[in-house]
Symmetry: C2
Subunit: 280 residues, 2 copies
């Protein structure tokens, strides 16, 4: 698992890097972004993973979320992977912007042809953290995770299934009950098949109803988000969280939509939420 | 001159908007971005214009420069126009990324066919400010300007030629002596013709040697910028500024390249530089 440095850019006295490597999980090349704060020059630092949404790449968060300034101050490494395998190409992988390329949904697919490469769950929770731990100045055992939309779904699922691995979790406008919305149903049907019992392991609302994450979950959601009532369904997650007694804050943000102007407006609160668990 | 609102996005309790309008100068549609700080809901606010570099659009600054948070706090409107006319198309306007489309160089072209539409100098210094003044909550007489690369050149030229119009000026990695670098020579030859005496009005180093801008000019320049020694030539500008006694600060920033990771790292200093002239 050797890393190829694609580019690096000075940024707030730290460095924004883009890497490529051969992935054992997706059986092809994968890219990710890593922001290293100034502190990482001489010390190991905690890692905050960010999972992006539909249509995004490993560059989206680094360009649009405006997180580097505060991450530099807080001493956090920011790691953002791509949103799906890109090679080898599979038949139909670009037919829809909500499935296939840039829409891996952070699951391990079990249906052909996707099962051979679309293993983003194992990539994000196992392979990528191992790589970061071995190749970058990452403090062992100090990681948290957040994400947006499809990546908010991914972050919640990763954390709820691996509470010992992530110190904290948060999300912007997550697809909070994917088994109950068109994007999720399409993705899960194709990646996992028609047996809905297999979907529960990738549905944050199902998972949180079963067992709470040990720590408060922070979710920001724009009230003017065009996907709110059909695709995102934070109310379902909220109801499920209450069942298990999950500590939970859902902040409805009036006037904000689904995009990165929303995310940049509240990303500082998320970084501080995670830093409180990672740096104390 | 009526404005068409293309989109708006909640952003740091203000709003990031994108507009389109029919331009009298470029004789076609033009787009620009405007960030309105929260204060603009109930009061007129100063306007800080930003001119982008080669290959950029009206979206680049809004997405990549990370300026909205502090602009919201300082109460500044941020206005960023596109970098050239886009319609009507002209023969050869997309043959080079450094000329034509997205490369208007903020000049009023005098050579055919460019002279009919490529009038970005008049667009930026006259038409756009009139539009902002009449259609948005802009405080009269309170405007400043900055920019990056080709847009840094543009900002310096606009301010040096119109010192009564701009309270302050700054630039990131400007093309500081365009008559002496390949990008500038190519653009000026095609837009203005072979008579170099006509180029001086669009060359910041020529202008500043003649007459200083009434106030300190701030320039940030990355030391790792790949265009530094061939295209940007801040040393020429520095020498010229000394001739006229221009108050001037050139900050060489070690480890930073030509991109927006550099800009975002220092944009706060530029906003504060301008706010000191616009809000006191």
């Amino acid at each position: 698992m050797s890393l190829q440095l694609l580019s690096e850019h000075g940024c707030f006295a730290g460095v924004q890097r883009f890497y490529k490597h051969d992935s054992r999980e997706t059986r092809g090349p994968m890219k990710f972004a890593a922001f290293l704060p100034p502190r990482a020059r001489h010390a190991k630092v905690p890692v905050l993973y960010y999972l992006s949404g539909l249509t995004c790449t490993e560059e989206t968060f680094a360009i649009k979320a405006h997180a580097q300034k505060l991450a530099a101050e807080l001493g956090l490494m920011l790691v953002a992977p791509d949103t799906s395998p890109r090679e080898p190409r599979l038949p139909g992988d670009a037919d829809s912007w909500a499935f296939g390329q840039a829409a891996g949904f952070y699951v391990d697919a079990t249906r052909a042809p996707w099962s051979s490469n679309y293993r983003m769950y194992s990539y994000v929770t196992r392979e990528l953290p191992e790589l970061i731990q071995s190749e970058l100045p990452a403090l062992a055992g100090m990681a948290s995770i957040f994400g947006h939309s499809m990546g908010g779904h991914g972050a919640l699922v990763c954390a709820l299934r691996n509470p010992a691995q992530y110190r904290s979790v948060s999300a912007f406008a997550p697809i909070a009950a994917p088994s109950q919305c068109p994007w999720g149903v399409k993705a899960f049907t194709n990646y996992l098949g028609n047996d809905r019992s297999t979907w529960a392991e990738y549905d944050a609302s199902e998972l949180v109803a079963r067992k709470p994450f040990p720590g408060k979950i922070l979710i920001d959601q724009g009230s003017a988000d065009q996907f709110l009532t059909e695709q995102l369904l934070p109310d379902r997650f909220s109801t499920a969280a209450q069942k298990s007694g999950q500590a939970f804050e859902l902040r409805m943000q009036p006037g904000y939509d689904h995009g990165y102007y929303f995310i940049q407006s509240f990303v500082a609160d998320h970084l501080r939420h995670h830093a409180a668990h990672l740096t104390h």
